[in-house]
């Protein structure tokens, strides 16, 4: 999509263009399969995962399909169940810079889901990708209806953001040193 469409499409919901596979409960089994593989679900009981799955929807993206667009308003996070997603960011000199990739068990989009700020980067499926979506409204409901599960999810988010912040800060420090 052309860059000059980006600002006009600030409230565009890319999910609407993707194939909705079904309710999270339909793939609770696959989500169980991620337990152990996924940092996100360490310390979650089977019951926790069944409860959480009931608040999620599952989508499928074809290779090359955009799931999240930098600058958009975004109210959901996604858990990759299968496939791979490229994370790209616009920079001053380059149209899109590849920052990293994410695979099964990893989450994306939790920053905008929680803080309501525009999407920081673009996420594009690099292969056929199945992912479960948790919206801000569903997260609010979980906190009210299942406070203990809500806390576990939030603690996981803090843990994963901390890990990324440590990695990004360490990378920044290295790059700054190389520049001296």
């Amino acid at each position: 999509m052309a860059d000059d469409n980006l600002s006009a499409a600030a409230d565009h919901n890319n999910l609407a263009e993707l194939e909705r596979v079904g309710a999270g409960t339909a793939i609770a089994g696959e989500i169980f399969g991620l337990v152990g593989k996924s940092q996100f679900f360490a310390e979650f009981s089977q019951e926790d995962i069944a409860d959480l799955a009931a608040y999620m929807d599952v989508y499928r993206a074809q290779p090359g399909q955009m799931i999240i667009r930098e600058g958009d308003a975004g109210d959901f996070m996604m858990l990759i169940v299968d496939g791979e997603v490229d994370i790209l960011k616009k920079s001053f000199r380059v149209a899109q810079q590849h920052m990293t990739s994410a695979g099964p068990g990893m989450t994306l989009g939790e920053m905008s889901m929680i803080d309501g700020e525009p999407r920081f980067a673009t996420c594009i499926a690099s292969q056929l990708t199945v992912f479960a979506v948790l919206t801000r409204d569903s997260m609010a409901k979980i906190i009210l209806d299942h406070p203990s599960l809500g806390s576990k999810i939030l603690i996981k988010m803090v843990t994963m953001l901390s890990l990324r912040l440590r990695q990004t800060s360490a990378r920044l420090l290295r790059v700054m040193e190389e520049n001296r």
Copy 2:
């Protein structure tokens, strides 16, 4: 302190060397004063803050005193009530690199408090600094005893970590571009 002491002191608690001012309830007034100034307390009610203060202890650090040491095990986060803290990180070429500074209303140390990994950076008071401490055990108690307050605190942590991750990633991208 000499660098070669760092690994030996991995479980050293710097708080033990600092002046404990009293229980958080004693400075609930000052904490109320931070509301509005502090991102951390936006959306907290007076009652929330009174509840939270009951789980905190207040310390005072003299200029130059170390509060958190990079590489240590750490089980608390701190909320700066008054003063200023320098954040420093060891790098390959430089003994200590100044990364940023933090002032009243800002929190430090929540990454290690939640994920249990070693402290990522060193925090030194650059002036007389008063701060409130929340330990991992107290956080666990809040989640059990006041689940709604627990969720609010965790949501704030996610928000603040997201902001820092956005800022750090943007800075990394800029530095990488300057290198080309």
